[in-house]
Symmetry: C2
DNA sequence: ATGATTAGGAACCGTTCGGTACAAAAAACA
DNA sequence: TGTTTTTTGTACCGAACGGTTCCTAATCAT
């Protein structure tokens, strides 16, 4: 019954996500957001109430699309056993981080450092995402042939999770090829049967 | 020959460091800095040219004091063998992160996520600190009885390094006691002899 | 065609940003 | 005591901040 909006909210949120991803919350200015979202202030505040709301929406988007896909890949039994799926994820992260240009890292990891300790509403979403990722690793580890038992699955999933975030942090420091390979190799060791 | 300054620069830098540590670079306002440093704008700009210079000074301070002490502990042969020294570090980090209140994490890790990709001068210092930490782990691993060889030392040091940063990130998500214990247990596995 | 409804755009709000200029104050020297 | 040197506090700068308001333009249902 009224004029339809001229921009695609999904596209706008995606663009906003990448700005927050690269610059963090505080360093992403409203002017910058308007520019990448290709809308003006009027539309911005009409469609999304304020900056923080947009941030929350970008987190939800990341959760749904990126984390969702990652977890799905970790559980996809058609892509090798659980250990192979986990290593494939690490190989991909290591390669993209080593490839020049991609210093953006992982939005979840960045957001945890950036804002988790400062805003309860944001923290809640981040914790949920970490939990989903952890469960993704667990699911993959349930599908490892030599799996010793449930304790091994739980503990290894968490070790792999922390290695994942660690690799993301090291990516920010500009890791070398051998550094990336060594990190992945250590994850491979974690996936091996216990002595 | 002239009036001595009424504040201790070292104390002021320490206070500034903790503000940057908690809030990151952009979110630490000049007003906030002046408040915790207990000086006014005049003294601020006279003593330290600008905000970024203060940030760099706090990084140097952290490098010298905190990273320095950590590396020294990792190399202190009076505190058990290398593996025990590494585990002691992880236990300490896990405990302090789990203890409510300490969500500040590791300044180096925070700074890597916050600013490494945006400022070459800052990145340079951060890379140097990461390298110092890596070498600390290497030195400790040289002092492990079952040490298989130099490749093992290099690769394991890097795996431990990424686990260290990963634990720091998970600390931001408010890790549980069992989560912390599981992470440390995985580091323990990395330190064991290869199969 | 018209009226209702909504997006879009621009002007503008008060506040805070990082940074500067300068004068008063204080201490060390002669 | 007077001079010099440096710190200190304050007033102030222009720009950018996040956010609001309001008017116009566009499109739908009737």
């Amino acid at each position: 019954m009224a004029r339809p909006r001229e921009f695609d909210p999904d596209t706008a949120i995606t663009a906003a996500m990448h700005l927050f991803w690269d610059h963090g919350y505080e360093d992403a200015s409203l002017a910058g957001l308007l520019e990448v979202m290709k809308i003006t202030k009027g539309s911005f505040y009409k469609a999304f109430t304020d900056k923080k709301s947009v941030y929350l929406k970008t987190l939800d988007y990341y959760d749904d699309k990126v984390v969702g896909r990652t977890v799905r890949n970790l559980m996809d039994t058609e892509q090798g056993n659980g250990a192979e799926r986990i290593l494939a994820l690490f190989e991909a992260v290591a390669t993209s981080a080593r490839t020049d240009g991609d210093r953006s890292g992982c939005f979840l990891c960045n957001a945890l450092i950036d804002r988790a300790a400062h805003d309860a509403e944001i923290e809640e979403r981040l914790q949920a995402m970490v939990f989903r990722l952890e469960n993704g690793f667990r699911a993959a580890l349930e599908d490892v042939p030599h799996r010793p038992g449930p304790d091994w699955v739980r503990a290894t999933a968490r070790g792999v999770l922390s290695s994942y975030f660690g690799l993301r942090v090291l990516g920010k420091a500009g890791l070398s090829k051998t550094m990336a390979e060594d990190c992945v190799a250590q994850v491979r060791r974690l996936l091996e049967p216990v002595a």
